[in-house]
Every structure is written in C-alpha cells, then in structure tokens.
Symmetry: D2
Subunit: 422 residues, 4 copies
C-alpha cells in the first residue's frame, strides 16, 4: 500500500483527469477477480459538475499515458469519466456493501522543501500544480489494499462487496454523477471514509455528522468595454455588477434554524486600468447546516447574481459546479462500526462524532441515496498524524495509519451478518 | 404690487394647492377684461406630476376658502388643477405673446426671527411648512401688475397677449400639464421670467441657457417584515435593496458629452430597530446638460432601481414626479429683449447669459413647445438683492425690483412689432 | 389586579417616562410596609441607555401628574430615573430573594378597532403612540399583587424579599442601570418573569435559555449639504456613508460557534430631493448566541460604522442605547420552580425550556450579576392566550393568567427553604 | 526612417525596459555629433512611477543585449533609467528648443494574422506580450530622422536643439522623472508630438488641448485567509473591502466645473472558492478636465480606499504609479506652427484643435514646467491612416506620414527666429 500511495502521490491527478490513477485501479481490480465497471457506465454524462475544458482533459489523458496509465482502460475514461466500480459477488447471501474511495488530487503546487518527506524521499508530485494534499492517494491505496485482501478471503464473505472509486471529490463535483448513474441503487450498507481531518493517529470516528450542505457556483458577468477616459458612457461595467453581487451575497439573511455560509472566494475582473471592465468572474459557494438552509441561501444568491446584472445591464451566466448534502450517519451502523473497530489492535480510541467543524463532502450524496432506499450509511474517519493541515503544500500523512483503516474495514465486511438489517 | 406680494407671501401655498392664489389671479384677470381659462381647461389631467394625496388637496382647498379665496373660482381648481390663463385680444394684428408666471410656494417653514423682514413687518407665512422662498409671490404680483397695466393700454397693443399662471413649478411638476393641455400651441413669442437667482439688482439677463434637463423619481421598495432576532430568514429586506440602489445610482457612468447628475436626496426605511425593514422610500433625481444625457442617466437609474429590487426579491414601484428640459433661449429674441431693456431707467446693466450654474426649470417644457412650433422663446432673469439664498428660510427679495420687471416686460409687449418674425 | 392592570394599560408610559406607573408602585409598596428605594438610589446615572431628550421627559412627567401620578414620588423619578425597589425584611433568617417586574409600554399606537377588548371595554391607551403591547402592565400588576399578598403573610416568610420594578426593558435599556446601582448585589435567588411569549395558558416554563446577547446602537452621520445640481462637489454625502454601512454591516461574517444577527432596522437620511444629504440616522442592533459572538459582531459593526464615515469624509457619532446578555437559568433553581409550580392548581403543564426562539431581554444583566456573585437565577414564563402577537397593535392577554403567576411566585417565596443553597 | 521604425517595431520594449531602443538612440545621437545625456542624468531616481520589479528589469536588459542593444550604453540605463537627451548647440544665439519623442511599447500581444502588415512583412514584434500599438516606434524614428537632418544643417540653425527621448509614456509614468531631473529647466520652446489619434493623413493639429489630468493608483488590500465553511469569523475579507471601494469610488461626486472620471479597470482577489479572500489588487485611475478636478477626485478616492480597509479591518497599501496634467498649448506657438506647417507640401489641412476627446499624456508635465518658466509649449498631432485603433492588436500606421512630421518639425526649428519670443 505504501508503494501504491507513493506512486499515486508522485503522479497526482486532479478532479476529472484521474486517468492514470483510475486505469491502474481498474486494471488491478480486474486482475483480482472483480467485475469492473468504468467510465460512462458509472458516471452520468449530465450530472458531472465542474468539468475542465476539453483540451485540458485531452492533455492530461495524454500525459497519463506517458506516465504509465494502462492503455486498455483509457478509452473508458476519455473525456473525463474517471470513475471505477469493482464488484465482488460472494456465494453466500447477504447485503450489498458499498465502500467509497476518492482518487483526485488538488490544484496545489507541492512544496519542494527538504523538510517535506515526499520531496526528501523522492515521491513529490511531478505534475505541476497538482498535489495529493488531502490524502486521497491514501484512500485509493486503502481501497486497493482492502480489495486485494477481500478477494483472497472471498470464501469467508457473504453478500456483495462494491468498491466505488470516485473522481472529483474536491469541489464536491463527482459523487452526484455516480449516484445518478445508478451506482448506489442496490447498496444496502454504505461506508465512505476519510483519513486525518484532525483526528489523532489510533483514533476512529464511527460516523461524522458535521458536514454542511453546499453548492458551488461559477458566475461570469459580460458587459461592454469602453475607454474610461474617452467614452465611459459606452461601457457596460461588469465589475460594478460583480462588486454589487459580492456585497449583497454576503448580506443574505442568517437563518434561525441553523448555521449558514456564503463566500465569494475569487473575483477576477477587467483587462486594463483605463478600460471599463467588460467581464468579471466569481467563484461562489453557499452552505447550510441543513439542506433546506443551503437551498435558502442558494435561492437568495441566485436572485442577487441575476439582479446585479440587471442593475448594470450586463449579461450573466452562472453554473452549478459542485453540490453536496449534509451527512447523517445511521446510528445502528455507527454502533456496529464501533464494535468491529474495538477489535482492531491499532485502534486505541473510538469516538462517535468528529470534534471538528467539518467542511463539505459529496459522499453525502451517496449516503442520502442509500438511506432514501432504506439502507444504512456512515462516514468513518481514520485518525493520522499530519505534517501540515489539509490543503497545505506540506500536507503529509503517517503511512501506517492505512493499516488501521484496512483492518477496520475488512472486519466490517467480514462480520457484516452481525449487523442486523431490517 | 407690494400689497399683493405680501398677501401671497402671508398665505403661501405649495405646488398643486395654490387654491387661494389662483382664485385671486383668475378673479382679477376677469375683472380687468381678460378672457379667463382655468383648471382642467389649461391643466391636462394625465400630465400632472407629483400631485399630493387627495385628502391633502381637500384640506388645503378648505383652508384657502377660510383664508379668503374667491369661492366662485374654487370648483375649477378643485382636485389640484390650479392653473390660470388670461387672454387679451387686441384689435391690431400681431403675434400671440405668451408670458409665464409661477405661483407656488415651497415646503419650508419660514423663519420667525425678528431680523427677517416678513416676520418683522407682519406678513410672514401663516401656513405652516409652506413659504415663498423662491420669489414666486413676486412673480405672481409682477404678472398681475403687468396684466392690469396692459389692460389699461389695450389700444396701444397689437396681437394677442396670453398670461400663463402656472402651478407647481417647484419640483418641475406643473409646466408639462399646461403644455399638454394645449396652452402653448398658438404662442409665437414666449417669455418666462424669474427674479433673483444671484443676479444683482438693476441687472437683466436676456436669456438664461444654463438649465439642466431633469427627471424626478419617487421610488418605493416593499418587502416583508420579520423579527430580526427570531426569524431573519422570513424577511424581505427593502432597505438592502434601497442601499444597493443608492450606491449604484451614484455609480452611473459620467457622460463624455457633458455634465450629468444623479442624487438620492431622501431615504426613509424601516419601522423599528429589531424588524427587518419592509419598506423604503427614496426621492431621486437625474440631470443632464442635454436632454440626451439626462435620458442616459435616467435609463441607467431605472435599471438599477429595478435590479436592486430583484436582488432582494422585494417589490418596487417608481413614479416620475417631475420633468424639465434644457433651455435654449432664441438669439433673436434675446437681442430684442436687450434692446427694450436698455430703454428702462431701472435697468443698469444687461447680460446675455447667467453666470450661475442654474438648477432646473420646467418653463423649459413651454419653451421647447413654442420653438418646435417655429416660435421664439427666452428665459429672462430680473436681478434683485436677496436677504438669503433661494430656498433658505430667510429668503427675501427687494420689492422695488418688481417695477423693473413690469417696465421691461411692458416695453417688450408694447414694441413687439420691432421684433421681426418670419 | 385586573383593575390595576387596566389602569396601567390606559395610561401606558414608555421607557424612562414611567412616572405615573412608578409613583403608584412606590406609593402602594410604602403603604403595605415595604422599605422603598426609588430614582437615583436604584438607577445609576451613567448606566442608563437610550434615554429620550430632556423636553420629552419633562412633558411626560407633567402629563403623569395630570393623569393621577402620586406627586410625592415624582421628584425621585424626575429626569427619567423611574426605577423602584421595595424591600420586605422578615424576622427569620433566609436568602435575599429578588423578583423583577418591568413597567414600560411600547411606542406603538394602540388599535381602536371594536374587536380589540381594551377599546371595547374602555381602557385602551389614551396616551398617543404608547401602548402596553408586551404585557408589562400585567407584570407590574402581578408584582403588586404578590407584594400585597406577601406583606399580609409576613410571618410565614423567611429571609428578605426584594421587589424590583424596572423601567425601560423595551430596547434593553434599563436593567444595566439598576445592576450598576447595586440593586442585585445582595440577591441570592433571583427570578425574572414574563407573560405570554407564545406559551399557552396554563403552562409554566421554569427557565428560558434562548435569549440572544444583544447591543443596540444609534448612529448619526453628519456631512455637508449642497445643491445636487449646482455644486455636487461641495457636498459630503451622509447617505452614501450610511448606505455603505448598511450593506457592509449585513456582510459581517457568520460565526462558526453559534447564531449571530445584525440588523439596520431604521434609516432616515436627507432633507430634499435636490440636496446632497447632510445627515443620516440609523438604528442598528447586533446579537449573538453567546456574549462572545455578540461582541464579535459588535466590534466588526463599529469598524464598519467608522470606516464608512471615513470613506465619505463625514462625521459619525454612535451611541450604545441598549444591551443585554444571554440567559442561562440555574438548573437547581429550575428544578425547585418546577416543584412549586406543580402544586398550583392553575398550572396544567410545566416545561423546562421555551420552544420559541426568543429575542433579547435585559433581565439577563441581573441574572448574570446574581450568578457571578454565586447566586441562582432563572427566567420564568407564565403562559397566556394572546389576542395577537407581542408588539402588535391588537396585543391582549387573558387576565386570569395573572392569578397563576401570583400563586406560583408566592409558593416560590413561601417555600424557599426547600431550595437548598450552598 | 522606415527601416528604423520596423526594427523598433520588431523589438518592441515596454515602459522602463526600452534598453535596446534607448541604446540605439544614444549611440546614433552621439555618432551625429550630439552631446548625449542618459540614465540617471536625465531620469530622477525618486520621481519614476510604475517601475516593474527588479528581476523583470534584469531579464529585459539581458534580452536587449541578445537582440542587439549597444553594450556601451546599457550600464547607464540599467535598473530602468531608459531616458536619453541629445543636445545640439549651434553657434548662433537663439532659444533652447525642446522636442519630446516617446519610445515605449504596450503590454499587448501583437496580432499574427496575415492581414496585419507587420506580420505579413516580417517585422511583427518578437517580444512576447509587447507591441508598438500606439506609434511610439514611429515617434522614435521621427526623432532620429529629424536629429540626423538637423545635424547636417547645423550651420543654418540658431539657438540650442534638445532632443528628449522619453521612456514609459504609457501609463503616464515617465515624463515626471525627466522634469524632476531638470531636463526642461532651460527649454524656451517645447513641442511634444503624436502620430495618428484619429487625425487623417495629411492633416496637422497645431496644439491639442483636450487631455485630462490623471492619476493612476495601484491598490492592494491584505486581510487574513480562513476556511469559509469552518471558521469564517477568523478571516479578514480583503474582497469585501475591495468591492466596497469599487462601488464607492464610482460614487465620487461629479464636479460642476468640468468633466471628471474614475475607473477601477482591474480587480483580482482571492485564492480559492472556499477561502475568505486574503488579498485584493485594484488598478484605479482618476481624471479631471482641470488639475483641480483631478485632485478633487483623487482626494476622495484615497479616503474611500482607506475607509473601505478600515471597515473590514484589513491593511491597505496604495501607490501612485502614473500622473499627467492637462495640456494648454500656447496660442502664439500654435500660430507659428500653423505658419510653418502651411509651407510643407505633404500637409493638406491644418486644425488648431483635435476633434477627438483625448485620453491623457504625460508630456503635459513637460509643457507645464516650460510654461511655468515663461516658455511656450504645444502638443502637435500628425495625422495618419490607421489600420486599427490605438492599443488594438492590429494597430498600424502609414509609414510615409513620418515624412510630413519630419518636414514640419525641421521647418519649425529652422525658422525659429520667426517666432517672436518675449
């Protein structure tokens, strides 16, 4: 697993361009006897969000091939359909168990400082501006380690085991497309997991609930340029629309039933000092402690985005580029996870809830679907010691934490009949 | 004239409620042999702007009667149609000469300081919150003085003399309605006049051009109130819409072809500190050095007014409550006015243009119509020494300046055949 | 009590002008044997907030006399020091029990509709623009009823009973001044109570915790007026500063540790459409689920209030006109209250917490002081059927709910030795 | 001249990095017998504005050497002191004549379309992102052509001829530094000239007056980043400060004494969607029809820039990166220019004023200094047919227009004793 993780780390691929990673995952799952579904079979064409431009996809696919992608699998993923599902049917009756592992890196330039272990030990990312700074390299490796282990213990298993390798979790862009492709429809018991998030090494959280529902929106205002000295009246000022949107977005009312958020994280407008800005681009996000609160903020945000364009007679285009729901881990499942975790030597403590205000996570889409179908779902966290915080250029995990994760999850699968389902 | 002026000053009546003033004007014109038209004959029902509420009109009509209005004429003016036109047909051929005098006071509480002459001499306004602080009491008296004089010299006159006593000049609300009623349609030569405006006593301006085209807009945003502590999300915040409008109205681009203006002079919003404001009222005005510039600012303003409502999902209602055009006094007419003014003893100097940046004036509507019909029009200023600036609570004129005005205008009428018309 | 309540209702007096009410309270307490402290003895001169102008105070004091205030007591209250404390020392040892009742009405015009009971039955407020629309008339009557009853049962009591009749609870302006005057310093057990607040008749809440910490701020921007057409550059625009403040105040960040609020409830700016606004007045409030959150919002608000003035080079003056803290009713005291309430026939149900998100309440200042001194404090709600919501022009209570309140509170005092104190 | 112009065009160098251009100019002037001053002798160290970072200067100096710069001269210019002055003293008495030619290119990527002549004929700019899109390549060539011609006619000349080759006119950054270095102090008669600007081929403008006084300001807000979901209260939002600045900058009052402008042409803020923006950069400019109006706008702008930072408790740094004054060409000099221009065959028409609203030009700094010292100054335009507007990626001039310019300017110098000086 350490080797795999370092390999994925070195060839970090960000959301929707996990061509090399996904091809290696698919290839290995197939080798170990899994039925593999890939690409458009498991990623709905219309439900993807925040997909990069076509030429960027093409360049990255080409690079993946140069960097050792398994050529056989690339056509499935071409165009950014980089999801993989591996299915292991046992001979014994039992539930369909879904396990989610995300594969994408972040758009961050990794540190080349000598005190950064991946740099020192030679597996720092060689892909410029892409870095595994959130541990998804470990997630993919844990998934593979677990898949290999379970394939070797097939006779001791019951039910069906479904490994779901998800693209584009960063920006909460990928999960919805796998849900819409039907991947979750037969899943009875579902676990998504994450490493780190501030939980110390040796500790397991059986079901984190703190995720905020969120929507990510890209907004572009398009006006008309004009010389600011010579003929200001001929311009349509996209920046004035954008600045009004910024101030007013932040003024969306607080909600009395829980936490809400809105942020304009990025604004870029204009082409030159003496030109009325003809374009402005915003990266916006809304969040809510409940789905309803997020929808309230979102609806207000869209009114503001449109209204500010109308004020300055400029065009506006906005696009939903990411979405996630709140999590609500099933109590019964959490109890079962706590039971099996107790039996793992490496687990030194267990918590039922994360102490940290979490951000957002689109595995919540999967959890929501499973629960709506009457199944159980939980979001498990495996603690590890971090060299630096998530999304930091010096982020690094303790690799032996992957052992704890594989052991816990394998016990989870092996003992599934101890979990009484309705 | 001094007696009349002090009487009008004491019983000051603001725009559209000049019931007493107009009834006295109509009564005297009739007495002196003028054909009098009044009320809806000379004020178009649909073209009035900024008319006060019905009950306010009714109260003021009642008060006018109590204060000595001529009862016979009140029915004509009832409901706020306080315009009067007096026509004197001579037996000799000649042009139709139009002369405009405005009658309305301002919504200002007059000073009760003993150094304010009207207070000292006992003719301070007794109508609370209404004051002749712009000299329209003198204008009305000049008009009457001139009308009486000319009626006595009828044999020496030629053509037709048309006295136009206009309501609601303040806020540029009344002229359009008289133009739309057809009052200007037969006028060949037109003079509107004003006293003061910074011109010293003894000086005459033959044709002021500096007026800005303007539009006055009342805006009301209507949202939904909610308790700001308990359920802020249930509110629709009219004040946020209004505040966005204020900032963005002021950001309408400058115009490269001339001066422009925009102002939000008054904003009132909200009912209590702990309530999301459900209403906001704005008094807005736009101006332009040309009609086109004013229209540019106005069009942008309306986009902003509507867009800011859309941003906060509140209703918006706006109403045009005043409008004026730019003036452009006819060169030929100015020359003639300079000639006759020279012959008046009290005139010590003559200028062809006002040195002061003027505000706006709706006689420009009348000038525009006359010129469009091929006639000549000018805006004449008669200088006077002011106790305090226009619209100040201690504004006061030098009464003998009215003599200079009547003499100049009577010479203007008497010698009209010296003005060669096409 | 009904008679008292209707009398207070008819002669409603708003915050800091409870001259008549306070004089009647003081007079009766004295009559029943209480040691009475009034005016500056119990209201700190420097800690009052949101006091009306001196002439308003004077007019209302004069009116109070005309409407039957007890002349002897007025000098104590003159200038707006309308607090009263009545102390009953028993002969038995025991704790000092503080009981808070607020006396002020709201600045609301009461309904004159015939379906409004006070109008129908002839005790509608005759004081224009003032109305008991929050039940403080009932609170004062309950306080008096309880005081009379206890004075008659003095032998059965132990410890010291301290009745605290507070002015200016609306706007959270008065409690701090009584705390700062030392009124709470010897109190061991404290109960503030409120009627209604959405709790049904027959129900008692033993200790409401939902109050938000809050600060009320009045802001005035002062710029320079100028003619908007003639010389806009000579103005300093107070409305632009205010509008910027409004938008930016609403954009203060949400706080991850709990609910926060900010509201600009009222904005009034400008004097005329064509004048650059030289003044703008805002009524602002901040709130927080904890005192720390409110302080965070407040600190940001003050930066914004000052910064927006600096932007437009106008002066700004702001004043804290109200403050309250969060409540945190003592668990032990709540349990005791539940015990005694159970023994009251009229009490049909008891809750330990209010289901309604409450606003703010400055009795929290008193609770805070008592608890800091090692005492116990609780905020008790007595349910009643409301004709219309609090602060509505048709608000009305069910008068017999006052019985339930007096019985519960008298049992509370009588059995105080059942409450084990440290 | 055509050859020179094409060479400069190909090796376009933007403001403060005209290393190659300036070295060739200095080298040739020296060769032709001019006394040459260069670098810090003619560019004041402290008065340069908008100088690029040191490493950018260094890279461009290196490139200049690679592209044929005259090595001998480079040390003078090193660090971005790329001004050159060439002085020709004649033996006859007479005035000091100053002639300004600017040398810098724009930060624009030149078109590689085959219908763009420089591309077709092989002298398109090979320096990425730099292009002579405003004709300064022609200006430099005209200056050199004129310098060569005059050096050959030295005996026919009188007084002193001073060629001023200015860096960094774009962004109005360079002139002030040459003025402050004393370059203009002995100049009696000064002409700055420009090609194109909408004037047709064959036409000369003897003295353009339409330039607006301007100031260019770079603004950076620096706040504190924080996770927008997890702990928004820990951020200090630089974008909110910037957005407030944008809206309020545009709301600076119009000025009644003439045209004014303000523009935020570029805004870049934030690093990621889910991060509170910790930085925001703005490119701002102000303009005025008079120096006083520009100063009024600038003073207001600085208040707004600072106040918006204070509102959001972020740091702000602003820097003046460009400045120009208004031009006011001397009437006597214009008349003389018209006389000599008439004698040039290529000149088909002469205007005394440009019909086009011009932008800004920092030769106005030089004109201002000369006039303050009692000299005469004018801004001359030589018409030419343009392939596309100034600052367009396909901008191109008609090369033979350079002949008209050289002939007119040489006649101007040769006949200088016809210009009667005081």
């Amino acid at each position: 697993m350490v080797e795999w993780r370092r390999d994925f780390h070195k060839y970090a691929e960000s959301g929707w361009v996990e061509f090399r990673t996904a091809s290696l995952v698919a290839s290995r799952l197939e080798e170990w006897g899994y039925t593999v579904k890939a690409g458009k079979e498991v990623v709905d064409v219309n439900a993807r969000m925040g997909v990069p431009p076509a030429d960027f996809l093409k360049e990255n696919e080409k690079r993946a091939l140069d960097q050792g992608a398994v050529a056989k699998w690339l056509p499935s993923f071409s165009g950014g359909f980089t999801g993989v599902v591996g299915i292991l049917k046992t001979n014994k009756p039992g539930p369909v168990i879904g396990l989610r592992f995300d594969m994408d890196a972040l758009d961050i330039q990794e540190s080349d400082s000598e005190d950064h272990v991946p740099q020192r030990d030679g597996y720092v990312s060689i892909n410029e501006g892409m870095m595994h700074a959130c541990g998804h390299d470990a997630h993919t490796s844990i998934g593979l380690g677990l898949a290999k282990l379970l394939s070797e213990m097939k006779d001791e298993l019951s039910g069906t085991i479904k490994f779901i390798f998800q693209p584009a979790e960063e920006g909460v862009r990928g999960a919805k497309s796998m849900v819409e492709a039907g991947v979750m429809d037969d899943v009875d018991v579902f676990v998504a997991s994450h490493i780190g998030t501030g939980i110390p090494a040796g500790e397991v959280v059986s079901g984190a609930n703190g995720f905020l529902s969120t929507t990510k929106i890209d907004v572009t205002y398009t006006g008309v340029a004009a010389h600011a000295g010579g003929s200001p009246e001929e311009g349509k000022n996209a920046l004035l629309a954008a600045a009004s949107a910024v101030l007013n977005l932040h003024s969306i009312p607080r909600h009395s039933s829980g936490q809400s958020r809105v942020n304009v994280g990025v604004l870029k407008a204009g082409s030159g000092r003496n030109i009325i800005p003809a374009s402005a681009h915003l990266k916006v996000e809304t969040r809510g402690e409940t789905i309803e609160i997020n929808e309230f903020i979102l609806e207000n945000a869209i009114n503001i985005i449109k209204g500010s364009a109308a004020m300055h007679d400029v065009d506006v285009h906005y696009e939903i580029v990411g979405e996630a729901k709140t999590s609500d881990s099933s109590a019964r499942l959490k109890t079962y996870i706590e039971e099996v975790a107790k039996e793992v030597d490496e687990v030194r403590s267990i918590r039922s809830e994360s102490p940290n205000a979490a951000g957002s996570e689109d595995a919540t889409y999967m959890m929501d679907r499973v629960k709506k179908n009457g199944g159980l779902a939980s979001y498990v966290i495996f603690g590890t010691t971090l060299a630096a915080g998530h999304h930091n250029e010096k982020f690094d995990i303790q690799e032996d934490s992957m052992i704890m994760a594989v052991k816990t999850l394998s016990k989870f699968v092996l003992n599934i009949d101890r979990l009484k389902l309705d």
